[in-house]
């Protein structure tokens, strides 16, 4: 019996690097370019933050913004009047930072969700999180205790998560398809309850407030919002970033992951709960902003491949930049009226998603 030459030739010395036989245009397994991409995105994010703060009805230059921010950090004096300084420090900067943090958090949550459930269509709101958060938020808006909104939204998300996991249980196996179906069921129930609350008790002004929250909005984001979102990102998001290696192990399913030495059910539980907490933290300050967690990881994956050690941080940076600009568009395009940013992300995200799907169909 003969075998192919490729099989017969075992080189005496191992290659030091993989051969790049350039058939197929997507040489995306390579690590080359990753540090460059990360550096460019980081620069892009910093530039976006600076630029976004200058954009708006009150004309501000980048120099004025930088000087104002530095003065609040204890370096020099602000050249701006108290009102204009307030616009930078009290309104725009916290809002832009919140947009960046929420964008990063949602993108990480989406990428992790897609890996753990092995479902490319998974998004951070998969387990009924957004409808749970909505119920909590709407309840306090209707009751008029807006101060409690972040806490109520977070608790609502948590409640939905627990409900979804209980429905998906029993046992620790947590099959992805069951989990998703459970999320759908919980979502529907919580959405119905939310509608009921709105229908029953919302009046006049609270309608507008509720609608804006349901569609996702960063209009009310001040420093406490930055603190909540950034806290969630640091405490939950960063550990998730370190789990990239474990997520990779799921590429070929649970058995393959187990054969690579990963504790499958514990890892999946940890990741799902972590994602839910992260999403809850984001939803608490921004309402449910769709498409960021769904589309951004896909787009980044097309460029750098599916390795999560690379995918997660780059998705986070891209998500941050994306949401900063979406929110800037939301507050300036129809000035003085403001759009909920969720509308902007959906208007951009839905066509992009269709384009990605068409492309994926062509590739496979």
């Amino acid at each position: 019996m003969t075998s192919t030459p490729a099989l017969d030739q075992r080189p005496s010395s191992p290659h030091t690097g993989p051969a790049r036989a350039g058939r197929g245009s997507n040489a995306r397994g390579s690590a080359v370019g990753t540090p460059l991409a990360a550096a460019l995105l980081t620069l892009g994010l910093v530039a976006s933050l600076g630029a976004a703060v200058t954009i708006g009805p009150a004309d501000l230059t980048l120099g004025e913004v930088v000087a104002s921010v530095l003065s609040h950090l204890g370096v020099g004096d602000s050249p701006l009047s108290a009102i204009r300084d307030g616009i930078v420090w009290e309104l725009r900067l916290p809002r832009v930072l919140t947009a960046a943090v929420v964008g990063a958090g949602l993108a990480i949550a989406g990428a992790v969700m897609q890996a753990v459930t092995r479902n490319p269509l998974a998004d951070p709101f998969l387990l009924g999180l957004s409808s749970g958060a909505s119920l909590g938020a709407v309840a306090v808006l209707v009751l008029g205790v807006t101060v409690l909104l972040p806490a109520a939204a977070f608790l609502g998300a948590l409640l939905a998560l627990i409900a979804a996991l209980v429905v998906a249980g029993p046992g620790a196996s947590l099959a992805p398809s069951r989990t998703i179906l459970a999320g759908v069921a919980v979502s529907s129930l919580f959405a119905a309850l939310t509608s009921l609350v709105i229908f029953w008790s919302a009046t006049g002004d609270s309608y507008r407030e509720i609608l804006s929250w349901l569609l996702g909005s960063l209009a009310g984001a001040r420093w406490p919002a930055v603190a909540i979102a950034a806290g969630a990102l640091l405490v939950v998001g960063v550990p998730l970033l370190l789990g990239g290696r474990l997520l990779d192990a799921f590429s070929f399913g649970d058995t393959a992951a187990a054969a690579l030495g990963v504790d499958v059910s514990r890892t999946r539980w940890t990741m799902l709960v972590g994602t839910a907490l992260l999403t809850g933290g984001m939803v608490a300050v921004s309402g449910s902003i769709g498409f960021v967690g769904l589309v951004l990881p896909h787009a980044v994956r097309l460029v750098v491949g599916a390795r999560h050690r690379v995918l997660l941080p780059l998705s986070a940076l891209s998500g941050a930049i994306f949401l900063v600009w979406c929110d800037t568009a939301a507050r300036t395009l129809f000035d003085p009226r403001e759009l909920p940013v969720g509308i902007v992300t959906a208007i951009i995200g839905a066509p992009v998603f269709v384009a990605l799907m068409t492309r994926a169909r062509r590739v496979s």
């Binding site: 490729a6 075992r10 040489a27 995306r28 490319p120 399913g253 030495g261 599916a306 050690r309």
Partner: protein
């Protein structure tokens, strides 16, 4: 030769029945051991136990003299690698990325793969003959090429035990033979302990040093393929009539026919169960 994998009374109870029922195995390194049996005989389940993926309900397994399930998962994954049948990825993955997954048991969250890992991955790619595809996506490969990628991924784990679940599934004849020739060479030259669940008994005749025949979760025969795979045993375990043709200087080949009388095979299977 010493025994590498030593299983006694291995039982896997699931869905109200024993899928693997009191199996004793002794598997040696430097050999290809074929696990044979009809569909549902328990081949894959036994392989998953030997791979350290699922713990048996009862019974003991030791590998290299140490209790297999007393080891940490990661340390099991450094010893044994499993190639499943029909492993598919939902997310687009390049060949290089897929094979690099094999280094996961050897890396940690903070310490990513280093140059030594990359060299081992490159070596695995070349042993499996897939270096030329490294930059392509898995979806763009043929079934045979993809199977070799999965083999490369397992080899990148630098395992001492290689478990293959129906490695010739969906492959054309030539790809079947080249795959099996490759793993038997790995066993012979590198001393790897290869265990393959096979459907094709002629493959077992041609490439296995040792066969274990399962029937309804129990071992009904084991030994050298030429001695074990007799027409009587094949009739009993698979319910077909077999004719073994001896060939000059080559391994024997087996031809199969449906039995003329169903009762005969039922009788034979009945004898086997007892």
């Amino acid at each position: 030769m010493s025994v590498m994998i030593h299983g006694r009374g291995v039982t896997v109870h699931r869905g109200g029945r024993d899928i693997v029922d009191g199996v004793d195995v002794d598997i040696r390194p430097g050999q290809v051991t074929a696990v044979l049996g009809a569909n549902g005989a328990g081949k894959s389940t036994l392989l998953r136990v030997l791979a350290g993926v699922d713990a048996p309900t009862s019974g003991t397994v030791s590998v290299e003299g140490a209790d297999w399930f007393g080891r940490a998962r990661r340390s099991r994954a450094r010893i044994a690698a499993l190639v499943e049948q029909d492993a598919a990825a939902e997310l687009p993955l390049t060949v290089l990325a897929a094979v690099s997954l094999g280094r996961i048991p050897w890396t940690s969250a903070l310490r990513g793969p280093g140059t030594a890992d990359e060299a081992l991955v490159a070596d695995a790619l070349s042993v499996a003959g897939v270096t030329a595809f490294a930059a392509r996506t898995l979806a763009s490969l043929s079934g045979g090429e993809r199977q070799r990628v999965h083999l490369a991924r397992a080899l990148a784990q630098t395992p001492r035990v290689l478990l293959l679940d129906e490695p010739t599934n969906h492959l054309d004849v030539r790809a079947q033979l080249t795959s099996l020739a490759l793993v038997s060479r790995l066993a012979r030259d590198d001393g790897l302990c290869v265990v393959a669940a096979l459907h094709d008994l002629n493959h077992a005749m041609g490439f296995a040093d040792h066969v274990i025949v399962l029937h309804e979760g129990r071992v009904v025969a084991s030994g050298a393929p030429g001695e074990v795979l007799t027409p009587a045993l094949i009739s009993a375990a698979w319910g077909v009539t077999a004719t073994v043709f001896e060939r000059e200087g080559r391994h024997p080949v087996i031809a199969f026919d449906l039995p003329s009388s169903a009762e005969d095979t039922e009788l034979a299977a009945d004898r086997l169960s007892r």
